[in-house]
């Protein structure tokens, strides 16, 4: 793996197919599930069934699936507010997530968290955080805990490229590098922070080079090619579990939609042309082509997959709609730990 102290950006290209072929179907289904889920969430939002802020993941599916599919069940995952896709990839059910977006008692945060605050402790899914960069030190903290307990767990932290300019990024990566924590820091580089393009917010645009400040490898990865993402993930996890320290991945991807439901996909800060161009390397289409080439997918199989995903998402929406609101008394619970269970 390239250490980032040299100038040339390292782009991980499609790797050999062999090792992963058996998992393509699962990956493809999960990417379709994420996309369909997000489309449905967008519909629900636009008719007021979902409130607050809602940030969709459409276009970035290969990043979450490629990275999370390679994790151990006891590893930790943490992200920002654009985390529906990562939550699904980590195995939280569409029902529990959709119900959370609806604010229902059956949601994965009991209706108290919402779209930006999805949690599932049993799956090591640690949120869902709304303050840009705030999850980066937390991710380093999970890695610290893994090192403390000698469990060889990995802590996987997702954040947007705009978060690479905030102080917590610098402080957390320095300590992670200094202490060789088993952490993998993922810049989900979709090119924009709200309406601000990378070149207007970062003094350098090859963000993987920042790894050099922290004594860790920095790798640029093609985020539309799930195989490239998966390969980068495995290298980074192996390094982390071996006690060799953290890795910074700069994963280049695209956000097909607006920053949030209240932002247009194109217009003010990016052109329709740019947006259309970005869709040319669609992560789902790329994997489908790869599978067809390898004779692992035909129209019938794809149709069946798409149909089952649609059904699962429809079921999740129905479940969310029919689920009860939290009890009024829930307003007052979960502020403090139940008494009598001191450590």
């Amino acid at each position: 793996m390239a250490v980032s102290t040299s100038d040339a950006p390292k782009t991980r290209r499609r790797g050999t197919d062999a090792p992963f072929a058996a998992q393509y179907h699962d990956w493809l289904r999960m990417m379709h599930l994420i996309r369909r889920f997000e489309e449905r969430a967008g519909e629900a939002y636009s008719i007021g069934q979902i409130g607050g802020f809602c940030h969709l993941y459409i276009g970035q599916e290969a990043v979450a699936v490629g990275l999370i599919s390679a994790l151990r069940a006891d590893d930790y995952v943490i992200s920002a507010y654009r985390e529906h896709g990562q939550a699904l990839a980590r195995g939280i059910t569409p029902r529990a997530i959709m119900a959370e977006l609806y604010g229902k008692a059956t949601g994965c945060s009991g209706g108290k968290g919402g779209s930006m605050h999805l949690f599932d402790l049993a799956r090591g899914f640690m949120g869902g955080h709304g303050i840009v960069g705030g999850q980066i030190p937390l991710g380093a903290g999970f890695a610290w805990a893994a090192k403390y307990r000698k469990t060889e767990q990995v802590s996987l932290t997702f954040f947007g490229e705009a978060a690479a300019n905030i102080g917590s990024f610098h402080e957390a990566l320095n300590m992670a590098g200094l202490w060789k924590l088993p952490a993998v820091f993922v810049i989900e580089n979709n090119g924009y922070g709200m309406g601000t393009a990378v070149k207007r917010s970062a003094a350098i645009t090859d963000l993987h080079l920042r790894a050099a400040s922290y004594g860790m490898p920095g790798v640029e990865v093609d985020g539309q090619d799930i195989v490239a993402v998966r390969e980068a993930a495995e290298t980074a996890y192996a390094r982390a579990r071996a006690g060799e320290g953290p890795t910074l991945l700069d994963i280049r991807t695209f956000r097909y939609v607006g920053h949030s439901m209240s932002d247009a996909a194109s217009g003010t800060y990016r052109s329709k042309e740019e947006l259309d161009a970005s869709r040319q390397r669609d992560p789902i289409a790329l994997l489908e082509a790869r599978m067809r080439d390898a004779g692992l997918l035909d129209d019938a199989a794809l149709a069946e997959l798409v149909a089952s995903v649609a059904a699962e998402v429809a079921d999740a929406a129905t479940f969310a709609e029919e689920s009860p609101e939290p009890e009024a008394s829930e307003l007052w619970t979960d502020v403090f730990a139940p008494t009598g269970e001191e450590g």
Partner: protein, 326 residues
């Protein structure tokens, strides 16, 4: 007078002050090309260009410090916090530098800066995005804290804040931006530190600010049908607090309810209670009661959120209690 939204009133204040003084500039996330996350700065980049309307990276501590530094040299920055929740990351520069630099330097170096943006809760934004921090900033000597509730006050107070030679924490409200009202054109200055009687009344005083002003007026309306004539006093400025206006009203009504958006413990209302019981102990016919957010992080669910928030119903109920009419 033109009828403007609170948003456009702020925009007008910014435009007029930037036209008036070339040292005034606006800096923050998405303020320029995006016209502001809440469109408060619409059109300003076009009119004033990229040195005076400046998009920043997401780095609240850093650009707050850049603003403070530039103010130490005599520029008059307006630093937009996309919301005040994010200002927690910048609070060291606000509290340890902006508020103290004049004092630490023995009066040599001033800091004419405005930090502005929406505070408090909107709708279903969850615990991290729904916080009212005015009591925190008001706690700090060296800061002024301004919180307009109407479009006219928004314009007049922002203009005064920009001309003020001290650091001003200017807290708006996402839920107020679309509020419409009459706004005087041109040179309309509302002085910092002066409260405003939004409704005159005889029986009880409702002290409020920012997002609790409208509910207080609604409560007063409802109560008038029950024969309770409530005075609604809008603080407009939290620091310096208009103590005379508060005591004047209390001397008239002898009963007080303080309504604020934030949490109760050591909130702004607690300070007002302290003032009243100290300075008007014998005027009071009943204990002062407070209305505030439920003492919990803000929940996402819309019904729980509604139950958590201060509103007209809760204000009216508190008024009935201080009037012993419940």
């Amino acid at each position: 007078m033109a009828t403007l939204t609170y948003r456009d009133a702020l925009n007008e204040a910014l435009r007029e002050e930037m036209q008036r003084d070339g040292d005034v500039y606006l800096m923050g996330e998405e303020v320029a090309e995006y016209n502001g996350a809440y469109k408060v700065s619409r059109g300003l980049l076009e009119e004033f260009g990229p040195m005076r309307v400046v998009d920043t990276p997401i780095a609240e501590l850093g650009f707050a410090g850049i603003g403070v530094g530039s103010a130490m040299t005599g520029l008059r920055p307006v630093i937009e916090m996309m919301t005040w929740n994010f200002a927690l990351l910048a609070i060291d520069q606000i509290v340890n530098v902006a508020a103290k630099i004049r004092y630490m330097s023995g009066g040599q170096i001033g800091c004419p800066i405005v930090f502005r943006g929406p505070g408090g809760a909107a709708l279903q934004l969850g615990a991290q995005h729904s916080q009212a921090f005015e009591s925190w900033y008001a706690h700090i000597p060296g800061l002024k804290v301004v919180m307009p509730a109407t479009p006219a006050d928004a314009k007049g107070l922002l203009k005064s804040a920009i001309r003020d030679n001290n650091p001003v924490v200017f807290i708006e409200g996402e839920m107020l931006y679309n509020l419409k009202g009459e706004v005087p054109e041109g040179e309309h200055l509302v002085p910092i530190g002066v409260a405003d009687v939004k409704r005159a009344g005889q029986d009880v005083t409702i002290i409020c600010h920012s997002k609790t002003v409208a509910p207080a007026l609604n409560a007063a309306k409802a109560l008038s049908e029950e024969g309770i004539d409530a005075e609604v006093l809008d603080l407009r400025t939290i620091r310096p607090l208009d103590e005379e206006a508060i005591l004047r009203s209390v001397a008239k009504t002898h009963r007080v309810v303080v309504a604020e958006e934030g949490w109760y413990f050591a909130g702004v209302g607690a300070q007002i209670v302290d003032l009243i019981q100290r300075e008007a102990f014998d005027d009071l016919d009943a204990p002062v009661l407070r209305v505030h957010q439920a003492d919990v992080p803000m929940p996402y669910n819309k019904y729980l959120e509604k139950a958590a928030k201060a509103d007209a119903t809760k204000i009216a109920a508190a008024v009935r209690r201080v009037c012993y009419k419940d």
